[in-house]
Amino acid sequence: MYNVLICDDDKDIRNALEIYLSGQDYRIFKAENGEAALKVLKENEIHLVLLDIMMPEMDGRVCLTKIREFSNVPVIFLTAMNEETDIIMGLGLGADDYITKPFNALELTARVASHIRRYDRLGGMNKQEESNVLRVAGLEINDATKAVMLDGNPVNLTKTEYEILKLLMSHPGQVFSPEQIYENIWNEECLGGESTVAVHIRHLREKIEYDPGKPRYLKVVWGHGYKIED
């Protein structure tokens, strides 16, 4: 039985989150501001925190800094801002992930599950398995079994889509141009094959992203190419 702390200043959002998550068998704790959240964390064993950024009095970022002083519990930011700068800063402060509002319920529950599992599993997997696995946050490829998992749920990819994903995940953060991807996968000169690559990328994105319009992992670097963001 895992304990999840929900911290948001809006009552309806807190309740909605509670409803979603209790359906997944978690014990829910609620806090309406940063101070209350810290109190709950100190008095209970919490396995994951959902933390709103914009709250009065103590905002999410300050709260997170205080949490990190005494705990490594996974923290997922809830943010109404989807400015890249805010997100990067939040992750830099020690958050493990972020979800933008309004959020997709499925995505939320899957991410929570994925983070709790990883926190729990720390040091659990044996070395042999680890070497075949490529992982970026909740997205996981096992090259031995050719299985692709998103937050614990299997994803069905075509061979080409799998190859492209594997190439990008082997170098997280690195940008590959359509030409490079083509030559790498098809092993021949890319003459006009850029649009083929673009179409495959789009299909791949639709399969591994909760919101293909706002991708979390497979990012397009416009005018240059594609990358997997870590």
């Binding site: 809006d10 309806d12 959002i13 909605a16 409803i19 979603y20 914009m54 109404a80 801002m81 700068t85 509002k101 309004p102 959020f103 319920a105 141009s177 359509p178 850029e194 649009s195 690559v197 673009a198 179409v199 495959h200 990328i201 789009r202 397009v220 670097v221 416009w222 005018g223 240059h224 190419g225």
Partner: protein, 495 residues
């Protein structure tokens, strides 16, 4: 090599003097018939004079070749101005003549001392002068070695410094400064020629004019400083301003006025900064305040949906709620984006962006949507990389908006053209398509916010697409030009 040259030169010099002296003695003896050894004298003369000339020429050559190259055959005399060397040489010559007279008068050495000393003197003079000339030959070194030339240059430099150090002294001021100098000089001249009675008066007048001149000059110089401070204030560089010592009262007024300007400028800058901060805060707050209730709406509609109500009408209503809340979400996102874009609140990273790659990526994104309406994409100009200076993410937003419009409003089954064109230093990406419905609207009206063609009101879309694209293009130092011609819709992204 160097040591050899030095030794060589010393030997040649010694031989030169020996030969010269021998020749001189021989000539003298022949001339005075003192000794009886005429033939020997003749031979000695001829041989030594000949040898002397050869040695002389060799010396000159060595000096010429060695000069300026730091070779040891140059001597200290090469560093001195030519006039000084000339003076020294002549002095040396006179010295030997004096020595000659001294020795002749006070020792009993006889006439032989004449050729030796006199000859030595002449040889010395010749050696020094011609030697130093040989060292300075060529490449204007002779001219540069003259004292007068050196002095003249110094004076010119001083004059230049004087005139450039006081640039504020315009022509008029320079003339009046010149006149003042003349005035002072003439007064001095008058004063020096007057008889005693008028001397005091002339002196007083002189002092008075000097006083006036000094005052005028002081005003000029202070005005120059005020002008400098004014220029610095205009540029906002308040740190460059400096205090003027012993300011005249008129100048104090000017400086006070400049201080007022500075305060005014600083206030304006602060107000601007404050308003920018308020704008950013507003957008952040609006974004949060709109999205928070929207989140709950979407969540609870979703929860309602999951309840799997047995009521058909209820399910229908829930579908409507889902659709509309999704639209509201998109509209909110667009609205926040447009306010960020139009208030310049977006951080743009302008760098090289390959438009050909971008269009290829766009093609991939829209292939399905275009196929759904049987639209064929015709692309030209992307065979080679085409670079523009832009932020890739936002340029994509522009293309995204344009292609989104095209995929919604273009005539089914028609062709869509994307042309990359370069001319006159501009790069343009031109999107052309035929509209499905009539375009009863001008291009300018279309670009306005929330305006959509009449017929498109029934479809998805907020009417902000073109407006956002326009703002973004302008922020990337480009422009979006939309033309409507009958059913032809043309959007040109120009850099």
């Amino acid at each position: 090599m160097e040591k050899n040259d030095k030794v060589k030169y010393s030997i040649i010099t010694a031989l030169y003097y020996a030969a010269g002296l021998a020749g001189a003695t021989g000539i003298f003896d022949l001339w005075t018939g003192l000794s009886g050894y005429e033939t020997i004298c003749e031979i000695v003369c001829i041989v030594s004079l000949f040898a002397g000339m050869v040695l002389f020429a060799t010396k000159l050559n060595l000096r010429y070749r060695g000069a300026g190259k730091g070779m040891p055959v140059s001597t200290i005399t090469d560093l001195l101005p030519f006039e000084i060397v000339l003076g020294l040489a002549f002095g040396g010559f006179l010295g030997t003549l004096a020595l000659m007279a001294f020795i002749y008068n006070y020792s009993g050495m006889g006439f032989d001392v004449i050729p030796v000393c006199g000859g030595a003197g002449v040889l010395f003079f010749l050696d020094m002068v011609t030697g130093t000339l040989a060292s300075r030959a060529g490449e204007k070194r002779f001219r540069d070695s003259l004292l007068v030339v050196w002095l003249g240059r110094k004076i010119l430099k001083l004059a230049e410094a004087f005139f450039t150090k006081f640039p504020v002294l315009s022509g008029l001021e320079k003339v009046s400064a010149g006149l003042m100098i003349i005035q002072v000089i003439s007064l001095l001249a008058v004063a020096s020629h007057t008889t005693n009675g008028y001397l005091e008066l002339a002196f007083l007048l002189f002092l008075l004019t000097v006083g006036i001149d000094a005052f005028v000059l002081l005003v000029f110089f202070q005005m120059k400083d005020v002008k400098k401070n004014l220029k610095a204030a205009a540029l906002g560089k308040y740190d460059d301003m400096y205090e003027i010592k012993h300011m005249l009262p008129q100048m104090k007024d000017y400086m006070a006025a400049i201080d007022d300007i500075e305060v005014g400028q600083k206030n304006a800058a602060e107000r601007l900064l404050k308003s920018e901060r308020m704008k950013t805060e507003l957008i952040t707050n609006v974004s949060h305040d709109l999205r928070t209730p929207l989140t709950s709406i979407i969540n609870y509609v979703d929860l309602l949906d999951r309840e799997k109500l047995d009521n058909e009408k209820a399910s229908e209503y829930i579908e409507v709620l889902k659709r509309q809340s999704s639209k509201l979400k998109k509209l909110t996102d667009d609205l926040i984006e447009v306010s960020k874009a139009s208030s310049g609140n977006i951080e743009m990273k302008l760098e090289d962006c390959d438009v050909s790659v971008l269009i290829g990526q766009a093609e991939g994104e829209f292939s399905d949507k275009l196929k759904a309406r049987d639209l064929k994409l015709e692309i030209s100009g992307t065979e080679e990389p085409v670079n523009v200076t832009a932020d890739g993410r936002y340029l994509w937003r522009v293309f995204d908006n344009l292609l989104s419009n095209i995929s919604k409003y273009a005539m089914k089954g028609s062709r869509v053209y994307i042309d990359v064109v370069r001319n006159e230093g501009h790069t343009s990406v031109i999107f052309k398509n035929i509209s499905e419905e009539k375009l009863n609207i001008t291009a300018d009206e279309l670009m306005e916010r929330f305006v959509r063609g009449d017929s498109s009101r029934t479809t998805e879309g907020s009417g902000l697409g073109l407006s956002i694209a326009d703002s973004l293009m302008r922020m990337m130092k480009g422009e979006l030009v939309v033309t409507v011609d009958g059913d032809l819709f043309k959007a040109e992204c120009r850099f």
